[in-house]
């Protein structure tokens, strides 16, 4: 049996990272913004059936970019993690931090041990409550790298440009309408077309809601918020 060629670990990791980054760069982007009443998630997604943004638990939402089957897999795993934890302890014990760490571990292990890394980035957001607890946004990369983001986050193909744009334009305590318009402008910053409600998937974690804070914003309401509906 011939011996396999020797590939240095550095080279192998580099190749894998490049492969994953290329896969992610092909996909469309997602932005997340904190606004006055909670957290807003905006994805460029022409499909109204295959979601990129989803509810995980009472105060926690998930968003994924990259390869659909891979982040869908992670999304369901996250719901399972949260529901089992909430059932065996209490609902208040389910946190975004624990979930983000689990994602980080899983993606890190896949990246180092599998031949093909996941071509995804995921985001876990937890809205704080009305009495001052801070909101949390975690951004987990294809290799398990985990970052906690403040006020806003962007991921996907054009994330760097979007992040720069948000850095210049983000304001604290925006209303939902303003935050949404900013989010949509950020998503279209690298494109020369305007995005309408048909190209978008939008959801919020609304802290004024009872128990389950996650709410999708349907296309009609979106049109009104964007001011395109006449």
């Amino acid at each position: 049996m011939p011996l396999p060629y020797y590939v240095s670990p550095e080279q192998m990791m580099k190749d894998k990272a490049e492969y994953a980054r290329k896969g992610i760069a092909r996909g469309r982007s997602i932005v997340t913004l904190e606004y006055r009443e909670g957290i807003l998630l905006v994805a460029e997604n022409p499909s109204s059936l295959l979601h990129k943004i989803s509810e995980i638990y009472d105060r926690i939402a998930f968003a994924g970019v990259g390869k659909y089957n891979e982040f869908e897999n992670l999304r369901i795993a996250g719901i399972r993690h949260a529901d089992v934890k909430g059932y065996s302890y209490s609902r208040g014990d389910v946190t975004a931090k624990a979930l983000a760490n689990a994602y980080s571990q899983a993606l890190g292990n896949i990246f180092t041990q599998d031949i093909k890394p996941f071509e995804v980035e995921v985001l876990v957001a937890e809205v704080g409550d009305a009495n001052g607890a801070k909101s949390e946004i975690y951004h987990i990369l294809y290799d398990g790298t985990i970052e906690d983001e403040r006020n806003y986050a962007a991921m996907g193909g054009q994330a760097d440009e979007i992040r720069r744009f948000l850095k210049d334009h983000y304001q604290h305590s925006m209303g939902l309408e303003d935050a949404l318009q900013l989010g949509v402008r950020a998503l279209s910053v690298t494109q020369n077309k305007t995005l309408s409600e048909r190209d978008l998937e939008v959801a919020v974690l609304d802290r004024t809601k009872e128990r389950r804070k996650f709410r999708r914003i349907p296309s009609e309401a979106l049109g009104q918020l964007l001011g395109t509906a006449k």
Binding site: H51, S54, E55, I56, E72, N73, L74, I76, A77, I79, R80, H81, D83, V84, G86, Y87, S88, A102, A106, N109, I110, Q113
Partner: protein
């Protein structure tokens, strides 16, 4: 490290049942184990009922739990919201019943999140039946759980209610049903008072009349407690969701019923 372990629960994507997930992953968290020939007296919930009316279904239950001849709790809640459009009323061994209600709530929410869509009312009713069947062994040892399930069927546009036996057998009732130790008296009362397409006020009064009758005849069922200010709990399930009825409103109706009975002088 094995493939499965590395992804811990991160595999097997086709399954949207929480109960199945627990069975595979943490079977010790599933109810339905325990009980024996000499199971000591455990806490029992007593009377719950469901009544169909014009806008949907009303569910109501007394607040007392008993252990043998003792009152175990005066304020126990027996009607639980299962999801936005359905509720469970529990009767039988209180511990396992509350556990089952919690598991059922999680099951429905889990399904909704994974699938992005709600189970049909029929699907929810069947799932609850399967969960009661899981408890059969414990039920034979004296830890029976027999809930009532009621909900608003969005497709049909009506309220529907289901009763169960300890084997998980599921029987749909058309108009009303009651479960628990005072259920016979509550059903007798409902049989006389129930009318088709009652408005909310009348349906609520009918439900409370039935619970007061059950408390009158059955030692296990608690009536309105004017001294402590504890009243039966009443919930409405309609097109617009699962609604709580305020204690003040329940108190007013209970007082009216008791006053009418005092005036009539016949005790009921």
């Amino acid at each position: 490290m094995s493939e499965d372990h590395r992804l811990f629960e991160f595999y097997d994507y086709a399954n949207s049942s929480f109960v199945e997930l627990l069975r595979r992953q943490s079977p010790h968290l599933l109810p339905g184990v325990g009980g024996g020939p000499d199971t000591p007296e455990v806490t029992h919930g007593t009377t719950v009922l469901a009544v169909r009316y014009r806008d949907g279904v009303i569910m109501a239950g007394d607040r007392q739990a008993t252990a043998g001849y003792q009152v175990a709790s005066r304020r126990i809640e027996k009607i639980f919201k299962a999801d936005d459009l359905s509720g469970v009323g529990i009767a039988g061994a209180a511990g396992p019943a509350m556990e089952m209600a919690k598991l059922f709530q999680t099951e429905l929410e889990h399904y909704e999140k994974v699938e992005g869509d709600n189970l049909s009312l029929e699907g929810k009713a069947n799932k609850l039946g399967q969960m009661i069947r899981m408890n059969l062994q414990a039920a034979m040892m004296g830890l029976a759980v027999v809930p009532i399930f009621a909900g608003f069927d969005e497709k049909a546009g009506v309220g529907r209610l289901f009763k169960y036996d300890i084997t998980g057998g599921r029987y749909e009732e058309r108009d009303f049903d009651a479960q628990g130790s005072g259920s016979k008296d509550a059903r007798d009362s409902l049989k006389k008072l129930w009318k088709r397409d009652m408005p909310r006020d009348e349906a609520m009064r009918t439900s409370l009349e039935a619970l007061i009758d059950a408390a009158d005849e059955d030692v296990g069922t608690g009536g309105p407690d004017l001294v402590r200010g504890i009243f039966p709990s009443v919930k409405t399930i309609t097109r617009s969701g699962f609604g709580e009825v305020s204690d003040d409103e329940i108190r007013r109706v209970c007082e009216a019923i008791l006053a009418a009975r005092t005036a009539a002088g016949n005790g009921g």
